[in-house]
């Protein structure tokens, strides 16, 4: 394994006016490693990835790719340096076909001819899209179908497949599982593991410790614009990570979540709090329904009572 990190972030700071969004953040990602970036809302996760993907220039610090310092002029420049970012809800355009989404911004890969005869080779593009999706176990019968017809997890997978196909060295995933159900999240997580097997450096942003724990090799915790440190798997417990993310504040919430863990662990599965939450909601809805029915009955009796 090479010891030069595929991406090395050194003391990056980012200020927006008087707001210090990032304060001397450092992290290094090796090829074939899933590096989880954890943090609560407002910790600076989004700002960090936007800086890494060329959307914002950093106020201070440097980004080093395979040993060479780089300055990005924009998202396209970052892409050309092999840094592909998959955004949570901005990954795909629902009304466009799978193929067109797949090649969006990278149409040159399937351009035939030159000058006036230059054209988008739709047949080859369809073939490539279908093949690449098949590799990750999604059978797209008709690559011309709109991405909107795919499920949320599948859309994330198209975006990841696209990044891998176009030779990304670093894959930045912005909360790829947070909007997904349990089964879909596991599809995405499996593909994250596949990307690692292909020797990509993966930066996996999440606030779900379960998902991070399932695929992560290293964990960097951000809190209020600073890193609280980077930890290799096995040197830290899941509860400790969660504790750090919350930053010792809002202890009540934390306590409730830890209880959840204990319960889930006791049940031996990796059942997500999402499902537990849904079950609780269902139970509550049922209780409510019964109460309403009883009220109705009572009201009915009231009316039928002779004056």
């Amino acid at each position: 394994m090479t010891t030069v990190p595929v991406i090395d972030v050194r003391n990056i700071s980012k200020h927006f006016g008087s707001v210090i969004a990032l304060n001397e953040v450092s992290m290094a990602v090796l090829a074939g490693e899933v590096h989880c970036l954890l943090g609560d809302n407002g910790a600076g996760k989004s700002t960090l990835i936007k800086t890494l993907s060329g959307v914002h220039p950093p106020s201070a610090g440097e980004i080093v790719i395979e040993g060479k310092p780089v300055v990005f002029r924009g998202p396209r420049d970052a892409l050309d340096h092999g840094i592909a970012t998959v955004y949570q809800d901005l990954a795909m355009i629902p009304l466009m076909s799978v193929t067109r989404n797949f090649f969006m911004g990278r149409e040159m890969a399937v351009i035939k001819g030159k000058g006036l005869t230059e054209r988008f080779d739709i047949h080859r593009a369809n073939e490539v899209a279908r093949e690449e999706m098949a590799k990750i176990g999604i059978d797209v019968r008709d690559p011309n179908q709109a991405v909107g017809t795919l499920s949320g997890g599948e859309r994330q997978c198209v975006a990841i497949a696209r990044a891998v196909y176009f030779g990304a060295k670093v894959l930045i995933l912005d909360e790829p599982t947070s909007a997904l159900g349990v089964k879909q999240a596991s599809v995405v997580l499996r593909y994250v593991a596949q990307a690692r097997a292909r020797r990509l450096g993966v930066i996996f942003i999440t606030h779900n410790v379960h998902h991070a724990w399932a695929v992560g090799d290293k964990f960097t915790v951000l809190n209020r614009g600073r890193t609280l440190g980077t930890f290799a798997k096995g040197t830290i417990a899941r509860e400790e990570l969660l504790n750090m993310m919350a930053g010792g504040r809002e202890l009540e919430e934390l306590g409730a979540e830890l209880e959840e863990f204990a319960r889930v662990d006791a049940a031996k599965g990796e059942e997500s709090p999402l499902e537990a939450g849904a079950a609780a909601e269902r139970a509550m809805a049922e209780t409510l329904r019964q109460e309403v029915a009883e009220d109705h009955k009572a009201a009915g009796q009231e009316q039928n009572r002779p004056h």
């Binding site: 993907s53 959307v55 924009g74 998202p75 396209r76 892409l79 970012t85 955004y87 901005l90 990954a91 795909m92 355009i93 629902p94 009304l95 466009m96 067109r100 090649f103 969006m104 911004g105 990278r106 149409e107 040159m108 351009i111 230059e118 054209r119 988008f120 739709i122 999604i138 059978d139 797209v140 019968r141 008709d142 179908q145 709109a146 909107g148 017809t149 795919l150 499920s151 949320g152 997890g153 599948e154 997904l180 159900g181 089964k183 879909q184």
Partner: protein
């Protein structure tokens, strides 16, 4: 999330043929055009609407609208509107007519200048929309009034009139004018007239001396626009810019350039419309092109463009324009009072939008 998502392949295989046809954006417009033509063939079949002269007339009306509708559709797919198209038509008309008819500049030079000015106007529209981040609806609504005001003000200031005649004589001598105001197949039509196959006037010249150039422009532009949208890199960028500008920018699509380019395209299309109309009519009028921006948008929407962008077709817009032209002329032939045309127009627009919304829901998986 849906329960079926665990078995995506099973679900994907079951796309019915009907639905696949339905999600073609131009389907509604093609079906509508066939319906409208059939309707008038039955109602006004014997009235001369489908004579050579009648057909060429309604095609010419459709063609002129089609030229601006195609550009409007491309811009709409990229997620923007250009309401200044109608004013641009009037403006381009006087940019050609004042130097040509009043100052004696060569007509071809005036036409070239008008197209140059269109690039500038389109660029300004685009830049203001991009820089301010305001909705293009508002920005171009402002340019609608500004351009019309400049047109009327400048023309009155310089000539004291609102109409500038005297282009007809210039058209006959100009080398560039025939590609806008000429007709093709004049020899063939003359021959057909002398053979008695088509209606001739008493002096032996055919009633229809040839196919107007506007129809050729319309067809060629439809083909080019469709090719650009479906088979080029820029086409993919246009759909992406309208579908989700932020997502497109994140993967490196030059959204700003695409949008500015399309604002320039609509201004150029308006100028082409103005050039054809002024040269064919032999005059320019400050009020030319009034409300054409709405007609172009209506044709685009009938043609399947979504007002929210990201979806639509140039073929659809062309058929939208055909429906428009057919009905506008057809109502005249049926003897129904033409006042009712606008009622039809509004109804047509409403039906088209409802149909498109339904189609989009189908296209994105019933959400």
């Amino acid at each position: 999330m849906t329960a079926a998502s665990a078995h995506p392949d099973e679900r994907l295989k079951e796309t019915p043929l009907m639905r696949r046809l339905m999600i073609r954006p131009e389907l509604g417009a093609v079906a509508g055009a066939i319906l409208v033509l059939l309707f008038f063939a039955i109602v006004a079949g014997g009235s001369g609407m489908f004579s050579m002269l009648g057909v060429v007339t309604f095609l010419e009306v459709s063609a002129q609208l089609g030229i601006i509708a195609i550009a409007a559709a491309m811009l709409m797919i990229a997620g923007e509107f250009d309401l200044s198209v109608g004013s641009m038509i009037g403006f381009a008309g006087i940019v050609i007519a004042i130097p040509a008819a009043e100052w004696g500049w060569p007509l071809w030079l005036c036409i070239v200048i008008a197209f140059g000015v269109a690039v500038l106007v389109g660029y300004i529209n685009g830049m203001v929309v991009i820089r301010t981040g305001l909705p293009s609806f508002i920005v171009t609504l402002a340019s609608l009034f500004i351009l019309r005001g400049i047109t009327i003000g400048v023309t009155r200031e310089m000539t004291g009139r609102t109409q500038i005649p005297g282009l007809r004589a210039l058209v006959a001598q100009d080398w560039l004018a025939p590609i806008f105001a000429g007709r093709i197949g004049t020899g063939l039509f003359q021959w057909m007239a002398s053979a008695g196959w088509i209606t001739a006037r008493s002096d032996g010249t055919p009633q229809v001396p040839g196919i107007p150039m506007s129809i050729l422009w319309w067809l060629v532009l439809t083909v080019i626009a469709t090719y650009v949208l479906l088979r080029t890199r820029i086409g993919n960028w246009i759909f992406a810019s309208g579908g989700d500008a932020a997502a497109a920018r994140n993967v490196g699509v030059p959204v700003r350039q695409v949008k500015i380019g399309l604002f320039i395209t609509t201004a150029l299309a308006a100028t082409l419309f103005a050039t054809i109309q002024s040269l064919v009519a032999g005059s320019a009028d400050v009020l030319r092109g009034d409300q054409k921006e709405f007609e172009a948008i209506i044709a685009s929407v009938i043609g399947g463009c979504l007002l929210t962008g990201g979806y639509g077709s140039a073929i659809g817009a062309s058929f939208g324009a055909l429906i428009f032209g057919t009905v506008e002329q057809g109502i005249f032939y049926t003897g129904v009072n033409t006042d009712w045309f606008k009622v039809f127009l509004g109804g047509m627009l409403l039906i088209a939008v409802m149909f498109n919304t339904y189609v989009r829901r189908k296209a994105t998986g019933g959400r």
